[in-house]
Symmetry: C2
Subunit: 203 residues, 2 copies
């Protein structure tokens, strides 16, 4: 790095191009078979630029994960005050716990599960995924809290409900990415029963 930050020429454009190349290479090769060289094959500029900016594959991937979390936060902030709590909750669950077990971004989610598994023994990955889980938890607790306040939801404990739902979402992604077990549809049906009977208000 120098005084101009990591990307001196058109810094945002270059970083965005690196992030896009990383996304494509991750979807195609997964984590274990990913190399800087393979990311370079998706990158319109010289691969040497990647070696210049990053110490290695994990350094680049951790920056990529931060970039993805920033994008989630930008999207969230742009919609958070516009939509009612039930719509926001359903939208989250439809993404995180798809009933057909066929998420639209399947290749990416498989790679994400591999990256998250690195956190079992790698402290930098662990710090990232702790922060991600805490952000999703905070987002959901806010949605539930808003729903309790406006009477859409029952008088539940927002933090406990949010903790439960991030756990269900993690389990859905992990199950889907690592098994062919046909549990997605049943899990979603029972999740919907839980939401209807214990979260949504009677009225």
């Amino acid at each position: 790095m120098n005084d101009h930050g990591p990307f001196p020429e058109n810094p945002e454009d270059t970083r965005t191009a690196i992030m896009e190349a990383t996304f494509q290479a991750l979807c195609e090769h997964g984590y274990a078979n990913l190399t800087i060289q393979r990311i370079g094959e998706k990158f319109p500029k010289s691969t040497s630029l990647l070696y210049h900016h990053y110490e290695g594959k994990d350094d680049l991937l951790l920056d990529f994960l931060d970039h993805m979390l920033e994008r989630f936060e930008e999207r969230e902030l742009s919609t958070v005050s516009q939509t009612d709590p039930e719509v926001r909750l359903c939208s989250y669950l439809n993404h995180a716990v798809p009933s057909d077990g066929q998420p639209s971004n399947a290749d990416f989610l498989k790679a994400l599960v591999e990256l998250r598994a690195q956190a079992a023994h790698n402290e930098a990955y662990r710090q990232h995924f702790t922060r991600t889980q805490e952000r999703f938890h905070e987002y959901l607790a806010g949605v539930v809290s808003d729903g309790v306040a406006d009477g859409t939801f029952r008088d539940v404990n927002p933090k406990e409900v949010a903790s439960f739902l991030v756990t269900v979402a993690s389990g859905s992604m992990f199950s889907w990415a690592t098994t062919n077990a046909e549990t997605a549809e049943g899990a979603r049906a029972e999740l919907d029963r839980y939401i209807e009977k214990l979260i949504l208000s009677d009225e």
Copy 2:
């Protein structure tokens, strides 16, 4: 292998010793840093025996995972008809979704999450974890079905409840093994509310 199967001398003793060595090495080194050599360091006999029986680390680990599943099935069969459904359900949940987020076999579970993440791109691991998830699902559906039959539980759909609970269990393990987020206690409290309000009978 030869006509005497994989372990010609004291076949069960040798396999058990290999499985114990694998367990210890996995707990100590995790998946990424595991080698046959490191398993050999925990094995009382010659490491060359490991190379003789297995094509490589993943071949040995897949046999180890089958061995763990067999042990679960033996334990389950020995208790399945002796205990009432509520005790069996609570026992499963106390193991799978510990409220303090501190499972007793933490090092092993971290390694298990790494192994399961291999299933995102490795078909042999995927087949194993599909079988494991199906066995846990079948076990839980049986517990719930028994509880509905004897009136301990409400008239719920055993397969849907089982699908939901294996998803929660997967999510708990994945969250615990890969983050320091303090969601375990809240998730368990809300799971207990779900069990009390939607699964256990009123009576």
